[in-house]
Symmetry: C2
Subunit: 270 residues, 2 copies
Amino acid sequence: MENFSWLSAFKDMGAKVRAEMGELFKGTGAGKALGKGAGGDTTLLLDKKAEDAILSVLEMLHESGERFKFISEELGERDFGDEGVVILADPIDGSNNAKYGIPFYSTALAMASGGKLSDVNLGYIINLVNGDEFWAVKGQGAYKNGIRIKTTDHVELGMINFEGSNPRRDIPAAMPLLKVARKVRCLGTTALDLACLASGATDVVLIPSPSRSFDYAAGWLLVREAGGIVTDTQGGSLEETPLGLGRTSPFIGAANRTLLDKALNALKGE
Amino acid sequence: MENFSWLSAFKDMGAKVRAEMGELFKGTGAGKALGKGAGGDTTLLLDKKAEDAILSVLEMLHESGERFKFISEELGERDFGDEGVVILADPIDGSNNAKYGIPFYSTALAMASGGKLSDVNLGYIINLVNGDEFWAVKGQGAYKNGIRIKTTDHVELGMINFEGSNPRRDIPAAMPLLKVARKVRCLGTTALDLACLASGATDVVLIPSPSRSFDYAAGWLLVREAGGIVTDTQGGSLEETPLGLGRTSPFIGAANRTLLDKALNALKGE
């Protein structure tokens, strides 16, 4: 199946997850814990429902002959007959927002032709609250709701998004950068942080905690195809990062080389 | 006009602003600067359009005999024939989010029967992205989309929202509290922070910069009517705070007394 057929499948999954969340939030119990997910987070009813919605589309594709490996936050890895094509899912990125009732969360999906981040060919993110869809196909650019997007050409550190999943450790680590920003945001969803970066809404994204590849694979391609750069927090390449369930390096994304250099220098205390 | 008639008027204003923003974001130029607003921020096209939508409803009310004073971020104060009733508006709370393209911003409206915060009888906040409406009438409770809301009964510092309009100054000031939180968010809109607190989505809100009364008057009543507490950052009462354009004290809101005491102690370094 080609990139654009997978994009169509991802859009189906996004629509199904969004419909499922709409149903769930009409009642109560969205945040009801179900146990531990393969990624280590507590699996919530909403995460499970979202993953099931994605699986329902993947199972149909598999029945019609598609072969792939599926890696997802909740179930871990599942073999659908071929490890040459990898589908990565974060069913709900921003689970805590959804669970607590802060209306800002997303689904992130990626497709790769191998086991490394540089093998990612397609990334898709949907804001489950307002329905905004972001996607990128390798070599074909990045899009928001069908319109081509580009990162900003700002050269000053204006809006910086960071995540602090462990505030006591992460905020001090981020502070050398945050204190030179004009504005900061901590929104609770890495996928939407990267979608903000790709669409020019923010200048730099800093994730000071080790992340998992399904958290950022889609956003990584989106930012690159929109003209931005994503590296580890020393400026090193992430291309060889394995696509799996393990936690990998903290990372930083910037709209352009000038902002990346300024941000890396700020983090070094220069 | 009674509280519930004003609530109906506020809902009309919210719907008009939301429709206006929908139109504006179809095109470009939402963030086009128009000059300085009375509150000191740069007035953007979107702020002006939002205020005009609110004014259009107020002018109709005035023509039909209502008398009041209007205080708003952009135009400052305007006399509609009576200073005994004060209408406060923050046409777009989270202007920078709207301007940059982060889909999280609101309109906040309040009505008071005098010139102090304790005179606020009605507060209304609408999330302009998903349409969620929050309101409170003094002595009548707080509501989200028509359903009664209450703050959490959590006794541990879980989710803390803060704002850092000046990151270099505000994040270090907030840090003694942030480092003892399980999760932190910096969402860029004080009104929605307070709506999150009132509806149980967050446990504590800290605004370390001096704010203006139209930024928090609606949210202040919402939190109180939902069972929460809002004080200055030393735990002092805000009841006598004048309703006007000047910047007043930093403040903190908590879901209950236990969380307020824990948060104030954390800020004192205890």
